[in-house]
């Protein structure tokens, strides 16, 4: 078996813009802001960057296809820039490309940057899926949206585990309340207000059983990482963060076409988690993980991710939610930066934003959200829908 990339790659610097409905900023502005913060953080110059990976998803309302928008915006001429896209896991996909290039010895210092400008469409939610799923699937796929696709998992979860809808919605509300608390402590978050379980339960239904407060923010933003070898990183700063694992799992769509998937979990998350734990040498995630940033595009996604990443037993995640296990003050804080729910979800940037939070926490620089003595952090970035998805998991440590 291959060795994997544990401890072969370090994060030297990171940048992340404020996320939100940034009507006065284009994707190019966001690229510049995230990159300048990362350069300052890493203590290197632009000319030191040898190659770059750009992650964007919806090119129609963003910077367009190819690597050129990054090279053009940052005026980074004639280096290799690769544009990647893997649905909402795009940000982690850009990070993975950059890590592999350094681990392979092809380059010493590279950039992974994710950006998305979503608020130029004229309506709420993500852009139309009919245009992004291929010319064939527009004939065959229902007229769906992301909240609807994930809501079907909540319907199934409640049905399978015999959870009354009111009871299930209350558990989901508890997840959002927790993330809003963390978001309120984060100056870069899109949504910075605390909410109550009662408010969440009273919010208008978006896609039954999910209400407004079960859905993440749709935001503009950018985040990036400068990646190098650990030996170089240690010369440049005392506290680089090491990559322990990067894994991606992509569905063959058997969940949707073969009758075995139970509809209450995300298979790619489970598989990517298994491989990441193996790569990082983690035997008991519930004991060894200090903090999590998971892809809480919807509250139900966060709930099943607790189970898929083997933190909570199957069907029992609601018990951990109720006990405060994932609260900022709990044993494994989840979404200490507010998560997609409150930090926001500019698609291409989200995977790198999660890594940014874990990076800051591991360096002890998370301000009022700082977790005491974190050891290893995990990020989980998910693209697609529950029945065909791309899951990306990273594990980071000192």
């Amino acid at each position: 078996m291959a060795d994997g990339i544990k401890d072969k790659v370090a994060i030297l610097g990171m940048g992340c813009t404020r996320f939100g409905e940034l009507w006065d900023k284009g994707a190019e502005d966001l690229i510049v802001e995230a990159f300048q913060e990362a350069l300052a953080d890493a203590g290197v110059e632009k000319k030191d960057i040898q190659a770059a990976w750009l992650g964007t998803c919806f090119e129609e309302v963003n910077v367009g296809k190819s690597g050129i928008p990054l090279a053009n915006t940052l005026k980074m001429p004639f280096i290799p820039v690769t544009r990647v896209e893997n649905f909402c896991a795009t940000g982690t996909e850009a990070f993975r490309g950059a890590c592999y290039a350094v681990a392979a010895g092809a380059y010493d210092l590279v950039l992974a940057l994710g950006v998305e400008k979503l608020k130029d469409t004229g309506y709420g939610g993500l852009p139309d899926f009919g245009s992004v799923m291929g010319t064939k699937n527009r004939f065959l796929f229902p007229n769906m949206t992301a909240p609807g696709a994930f809501a079907t998992m909540a319907t199934r979860y409640f049905s399978r585990y015999g959870v009354a809808p009111e009871e299930g919605k209350a558990a989901l509300a508890r997840i959002s309340v927790k993330s809003h608390h963390s978001g309120s402590l984060n100056p870069k978050a899109h949504l910075k207000k605390e909410i109550t379980v009662e408010e969440a339960l009273k919010s208008p239904v978006v896609a039954w059983p999910l209400g407004l407060y079960d859905c993440c923010g749709v935001s503009d933003g950018a985040a990036c990482a400068i990646i190098t070898r650990p030996d170089i990183a240690r010369k440049l700063r005392p506290d680089p963060v090491l990559v322990k694992a990067v894994q991606i799992s992509v569905s063959s769509m058997e969940e949707l076409s073969f009758n075995e998937w139970d509809g209450t979990h995300i298979e790619t998350t489970y598989r990517a988690g298994l491989k990441a734990y193996e790569e990082a040498g983690i035997k008991n995630p519930r004991k060894e993980i200090s903090l999590m940033e998971v892809h809480d595009c919807f509250s139900i996604t966060e709930l099943v991710t607790y189970e898929d990443l083997q933190i909570s037993p199957r069907g029992k995640a609601t018990e951990d939610v109720e006990s405060g296990f994932f609260d900022l003050s709990g044993p494994i804080p989840c979404q200490s930066d507010g998560g997609l729910k409150c930090f926001g979800h500019p698609i291409g940037a989200s995977g790198l934003r999660m890594i940014y939070e874990v990076y800051k926490q591991l360096q002890g620089k998370a301000g009022p959200r700082q977790i005491r003595n974190p050891g290893m952090g995990i990020t989980h970035n998910l693209g697609g829908v529950p029945y065909f998805s791309v899951a990306a998991v990273t594990i980071l440590g000192n």
């Binding site: 309506y123 009919g130 527009r138 004939f139 065959l140 007229n143 999910l210 076409s257 073969f258 509809g263």
Partner: protein
């Protein structure tokens, strides 16, 4: 011996109580109070004459082997495409063989009986089976009498030489340029002449004329018929015609105006289907169509009727209904109101016809494949088996999901997705015998939906791209009746 071997009916789920029309528009034309009795069947926002014809055709054919079908004759005066054969789309959707002969019948309301007659003649001449469909979805202008009278419906008959349930015994036709109503190219609505003239010079004279011609041609008496089936939107005129013919009231088949409405080309065929539900072997039936002249056909019911009675979906279709809550909802469905869809609703991905041509079996006929090695049915078409433990490549046989029973694996009601009738409801369906896929749902009672509920797949209009002149079609899941009980009620 040539005749009817099977039949299928599709009555749309929606009904509009005619008093609602009067409530909305009675102020504009108070004389329409005369038309407020009963209700009319209304195609849903995702139905048109094509989709209804396919559903009736599927009800008729069921899972029968399609290889025997040599022709598809489709009659409608409201084809969604003026050019692009609706019969050809229906033949593909019904998974009929490529060698089928398809013909579109239109131009007059007697196109329905015309197609049935042509079907009988084609089978007599060439053998095989012909599927005859008639469907209409006509619009009356807001505030017009036609808005009250017109209903939407589709009927299908299979005509063949084996297992004949009603033998075709003859016909007589007349042709007259009697302009009771008309529609110019580009017109959305029928224009009509004074109703008194249509009743007295039209129905009351031209129907007796064709029936008299038929009796004379075959030397028959009116008393030789168990049922006289002819369309007439005016009950009084129907009674008067019967009197003129020397027929009893019992002989005249009800026109179903209070239940369904005047369904155009489909009307005489709908009445024939209704009559077959109650017919006894030996009964002789006279079916007439009316529209710029008349057709009259004779059918003689055989013992075979006992085998196919009740399978058409006529009685179930009459029973399974929901009342539209308002006239405005009907007006929205039929685009009589220009509703604000929002920017999301305006977005339609372009349609590639080469893609549709390659994928026509999946898109239009809901055909997937079954793996020869592991037996797994799968949708859509795959070259590599989806079963993770199989691995077969190019070992697939065609497998059609259209007539298979399904059950709801999961679903949601989505208020963000654009829908002409929000919320958009969709989910995953598991098929009996294997196979799973996700579909839009339609014709459901939201509060009654449940995981595990049985569904059938219906051919529906998926989107309209009017800027590029395209209607897109696919299949949607509809909760079904079980043992006569609407589980979704």
């Amino acid at each position: 011996m040539v005749g009817i071997t099977g039949y299928g009916v599709h009555i749309p789920w929606n009904r509009l109580d005619r008093r609602l029309i009067f409530g909305a528009l009675g102020w504009f034309n108070a004389a329409n109070a005369a038309y407020t009795r009963g209700e009319k069947a209304v195609a849903s926002y995702d139905e048109d004459s094509l989709t209804m014809a396919v559903t009736a055709g599927l009800n008729c054919l069921g899972e029968r082997e399609r290889g025997k079908t040599a022709g598809l004759f489709l009659a409608t005066t409201t084809p969604p495409y003026k050019e692009r054969s609706v019969a050809a789309i229906a033949a593909t959707a019904l998974n009929l063989p490529a060698g089928v002969r398809s013909v579109d019948f239109n131009g007059s309301l007697k196109a329905g009986t015309g197609a049935l007659l042509a079907g009988c003649e084609a089978v007599a001449e060439n053998g095989g089976e012909v599927l005859v469909c008639a469907a209409d979805c006509r619009l009356g202008k807001a505030g017009s009498a036609q808005e009250y009278l017109f209903g939407d419906c589709a009927v299908a008959f299979s005509v063949g030489k084996e297992d004949v349930a009603a033998t075709f015994e003859g016909f007589y036709s007349t042709t007259h340029d009697f302009v009771d109503h008309r529609r110019l190219e580009g017109d959305l609505f029928d224009r009509t002449w004074e109703e008194r003239w249509i009743r007295e010079e039209g129905y009351a004279k031209l129907i007796p004329e064709v029936i008299a011609g038929l009796l004379q041609k075959y030397d028959l008496q009116i008393g030789d018929f168990a049922k006289l089936i002819f369309p007439c939107p005016f009950d009084r005129v129907q009674v008067a015609v019967a009197g003129k013919l020397g027929a009893t009231r019992d002989q005249v088949s009800p026109a179903l105006m209070a239940e369904v409405g005047d369904t155009g080309t489909a009307q005489p065929l709908l009445m024939l289907a209704a009559a077959l539900e109650d017919a006894a072997p030996g009964d002789r039936l006279l079916v007439a169509g009316f529209g710029n002249g008349c057709d009259a056909l004779i059918f003689r019911v055989t013992e075979e009727i006992k085998k196919i009675k009740g399978l058409s979906g006529f009685k179930a279709g009459l029973a399974r209904k929901r009342q539209l809550a308002s006239y405005e909802k009907y007006a929205g469905f039929r685009h009589l109101l220009d509703l604000e869809t929002g920017i999301r609703g305006e977005q339609v991905a372009f349609t590639s016809f080469p893609v549709l041509w390659r994928e026509r079996k999946s898109v239009l006929a809901l055909c997937g494949v079954q793996c020869r090695r592991c037996g797994t049915p799968q949708f859509p078409y795959q070259r590599v088996c989806v079963n993770p433990r199989c691995g077969a490549v190019d070992e697939m046989d065609e497998y059609c999901f259209a007539g298979k029973k399904g059950s709801i694996f999961t679903y949601t009601a989505d208020h963000l997705a654009f829908s002409p009738e929000p919320p958009a409801v969709y989910g995953i369906v598991d098929f009996a015998g294997g196979g799973r896929y996700w579909f839009d749902f339609t014709d459901f009672n939201l509060a009654g939906l449940q995981v595990g509920m049985p569904v059938a797949l219906n051919f529906r209009r998926k989107y309209a791209d009017l800027a590029r002149g395209v209607y897109g079609y696919f299949w949607k899941a509809v909760p079904v009746l079980e043992q006569g009980v609407d589980l979704n009620g």
